[in-house]
């Protein structure tokens, strides 16, 4: 009996240990994305129409007035943050030719919902695009117990696609 209780305690503590932390530093993520040749960052300001659209995607005003992005050719990388339940989740998103190439949870600060870091979840975003109505083209399956974290990453992926479409126009790519 005590053996089972011990195993249960061990399993639950392992799950808590997995929960919070820096899974990959944003710098290391960018190094990976651009094979060590990270381009100089540019900025997008959340003003005017961009601000309104970002507010509508996030369902609240963006937490900062501008965000950085790194782009080379048709690819752009975004380090974006969104609150899950109470704390920010830092996510790295790569867009290639208006499609999501990669989504990776970089820093997770919440006590619950860490399951979103799993590849099985983040791979659902691969190849997602913006529909003609400006929505995310793919339906993302949720994770039980991680609903708010799932929604946060989904909103960020949607936002990254929208911001990419804006900068593609302004950068003339």
């Amino acid at each position: 009996m005590f053996k089972y209780i011990f195993v249960l305690i061990l399993l639950s503590s392992t799950s808590v240990l997995q929960a919070r932390g820096v899974y990959q530093h944003p710098d290391a993520f960018l190094d990976d994305v651009f094979n060590g040749e990270v381009p100089k960052p540019k900025f997008v300001w959340f003003t005017g129409e961009t601000g309104k659209k970002a507010t509508s995607i996030l369902k609240h005003k963006p937490a900062s007035l501008r965000t950085r992005y790194w782009s080379k050719g048709k690819r752009s990388a975004w380090i974006l943050e969104e609150i899950g339940k109470e704390k920010f989740i830092t996510t790295g998103i790569v867009i290639n030719d208006n499609q999501i190439e990669k989504v990776k949870v970089l820093i997770f600060r919440e006590s619950r919902g860490w399951e979103i870091k799993r590849n099985e979840f983040t791979q659902q975003f691969t190849n997602a695009t913006l529909t003609s109505e400006g929505n995310l083209s793919k339906r993302i399956d949720g994770i039980s117990g991680a609903t708010l974290s799932v929604k946060a990453v989904t909103r960020l992926s949607h936002l990254a696609l929208y911001l990419h479409s804006i900068v593609v126009k302004s950068d003339g790519n």
């Binding site: 530093h25 900062s64 007035l65 965000t67 600060r109």
Partner: protein, 246 residues
């Protein structure tokens, strides 16, 4: 010859069912009310509403600090208290990392936590959060300016940023105006305490529901109530079953 198991007398069951019910009634009402409210905290905004009742805050050991450390830029105070960073009495954002300083540059205010640099407007609105120097330069110890450029003292040495805070170059630690810690005026500290922002009503409800508000004794009481409710269900079912058989 096997002996027939003794039947539990109905009077015994009824006595226990009644007394357990009466004993646990208040706790059951408490658990029901807090439980229902907890299910709807977001709907009624209890997760975003903060407590400013000193008696309740004292339960969490949150007391008005004698002296709250902070950093003054122009006429504004930046401070960090209970995982919240304040611009005067406004909440800028939550941060678990300690505040290391704040400076003014030609274009914006910049504050440093141990891992991030936040650029702020003169009204305290966040322009951008930068975590980039974290891995390469180590934890930030202090922030200053040199020729109007943000400069940080890190575990790896002193580094100066370019105008857009993109590239960081090592510099000599001379002629840098380091941000100096001071104490937030008493009136502002009292205002921060009065406005709360540390414990939400949702957190209070959760701690009331689990009994954690009264530390170990409270948790134990709720545990006992849980066992009592279980016994109540068992005795109730047994009484119903016995009566049904008759």
């Amino acid at each position: 010859m096997a002996t027939k198991p003794k039947k539990i007398p109905m009077r015994f069951l009824l006595w226990w069912h009644r007394h357990i019910g009466l004993t646990v009634a208040i706790v059951a009402i408490h658990l029901s009310i807090t439980g229902i409210l907890l299910n709807h905290t977001s709907d009624i905004g209890l997760d975003k509403a903060y407590i400013n009742i000193s008696t309740v805050l004292n339960l969490y050991d949150i007391k008005l600090p004698e002296q709250l450390p902070g950093y003054k830029i122009e006429n504004n105070w930046l401070s960090h208290w209970n995982d919240v960073i304040y611009f005067n009495d406004q909440v800028i954002a939550n941060s678990m990392q300690p505040l290391r300083g704040a400076v003014i540059t030609a274009h914006f205010y910049a504050l440093a936590t141990s891992e991030e640099i936040w650029l702020l407007t003169i009204d305290g609105e966040i322009i951008e959060k930068l975590s980039a120097p974290g891995e390469k330069l180590g934890d930030i110890i202090s922030i200053g300016t040199q020729d109007n450029n943000v400069t940080i003292n890190t575990e790896q040495g002193v580094f100066k940023a370019d105008n857009d805070l993109i590239a960081w170059q090592p510099v000599e630690a001379d002629s840098i105006n380091w941000s100096k810690q001071a104490y937030v005026p008493k009136e502002l500290t009292e205002l921060l305490f009065a406005e709360g922002h540390s414990i939400s009503w949702e957190r209070l409800l959760l701690d009331l529901h689990s009994g954690r508000i009264a530390t170990r004794a409270g948790t134990l009481l709720v545990d006992l109530a849980g066992v009592a409710l279980l016994l109540l269900a068992i005795t109730g079912f047994t009484i119903w079953f016995k009566r049904r058989k008759k």
